[in-house]
């Protein structure tokens, strides 16, 4: 019964950690959102709709960071063949996908307000769409393999492919000259609120990533035990 006892401990641990961190993260995120609506100045041209930028940019940066982190975890897996690294890679890929999709939707709403169009095949938008598609492909491919090591290997390779798109997104406005501003002008207060928003959302997504990583690791342990127990 030792193996099962271990699984009981590991299944209880992530909930404890998440429970402990939930309140501080909620407070951090709550403070950031309060700053967005109460402290950030009302922009003259766009009015209140400009406040979309604080969540759009924060989610976009979190998405790019998650994709980079999943690539780094993928490299760690390919080097060490440890499923612990793959747990990080999968959790970061899922969060990266979520952030990419949210970035595209909030960006589309922003575009409608600022440029009077829901979508345009502008370099940054297009490269972000490609990143979302790569993340979707990664998750679909992962779901199609039973063997955890085969799943981890293909996930790591696709994560490395996704990494290549990140500098393209960051530099798109400078290289291709799209309609995204290259150096957006912001007051000091706006910058401070944007940083607070990024910190708040980063904390939220890190908390969820850690929760999912532990779930993935627990799922792997349970599958191992099931294979041992039911097949012996």
């Amino acid at each position: 019964m030792n193996g099962l006892a271990t699984s009981r401990i590991t299944s209880a641990a992530p909930m404890n950690l998440v429970t402990i961190l939930t309140l501080p993260v909620a407070m951090l995120l709550g403070s950031a959102i309060s700053l967005i609506f109460a402290v950030a100045p009302r922009e003259v041209t766009m009015g209140d709709a400009q406040r979309i930028m604080y969540v759009h940019v924060a989610v976009a940066w979190c998405g790019l960071a998650s994709v980079l982190a999943s690539g780094v975890a993928g490299i760690a897996y390919l080097k060490g063949r440890s499923l612990a690294s793959d747990g990080w890679a999968q959790a970061f890929t899922e969060i990266g996908w979520l952030c990419c999709v949210l970035t595209l939707i909030t960006g589309s709403i922003w575009a409608h307000e600022a440029w009077n169009t829901w979508w345009t095949w502008e370099p940054r938008l297009t490269s972000m769409l490609i990143l979302a598609a790569i993340c979707s492909g990664n998750l679909l491919l992962r779901g199609s393999f039973e063997d955890p090591h085969q799943r981890a290997r293909i996930g790591a390779i696709v994560a490395l492919l996704a990494i290549l798109d990140v500098p393209l997104i960051v530099l798109a406005t400078r290289i291709f000259r799209g309609i995204h501003p290259v150096h957006p002008s912001m007051s000091t207060t706006m910058r401070a609120v944007l940083v607070a928003s990024v910190v708040g959302f980063a904390a939220l997504f890190l908390l969820i990533t850690e929760w999912r990583r532990r779930q993935i690791m627990l799922g792997n342990s349970i599958t191992d035990m099931e294979n041992r127990e039911y097949n012996c």
């Binding site: 699984s7 299944s11 209140d48 709709a49 979309i52 922003w110 999912r212 779930q215």
Partner: protein, 55 residues
């Protein structure tokens, strides 16, 4: 103002949907552990029964 509310609702809804899905995964994992425990209990009981009969 409407687009602002829509944008924040989308982010909130997206994150909540993902967390709800992860919560379902957590429940599925708990059910698998419970199933494994029940199976082990049955196996141990059967082994004890066999040992008892053999004795």
């Amino acid at each position: 103002m409407t687009s602002l509310i829509v944008a924040y609702s989308v982010v909130c809804g997206g994150v909540l949907a993902y967390v709800a899905w992860a919560g379902m995964v957590q429940r599925t994992l708990a059910a698998r552990v419970a199933s494994l425990e029940a199976w082990r209990d049955r196996r141990d009981a059967a082994e004890q029964d066999r040992a008892h009969r053999a004795a």
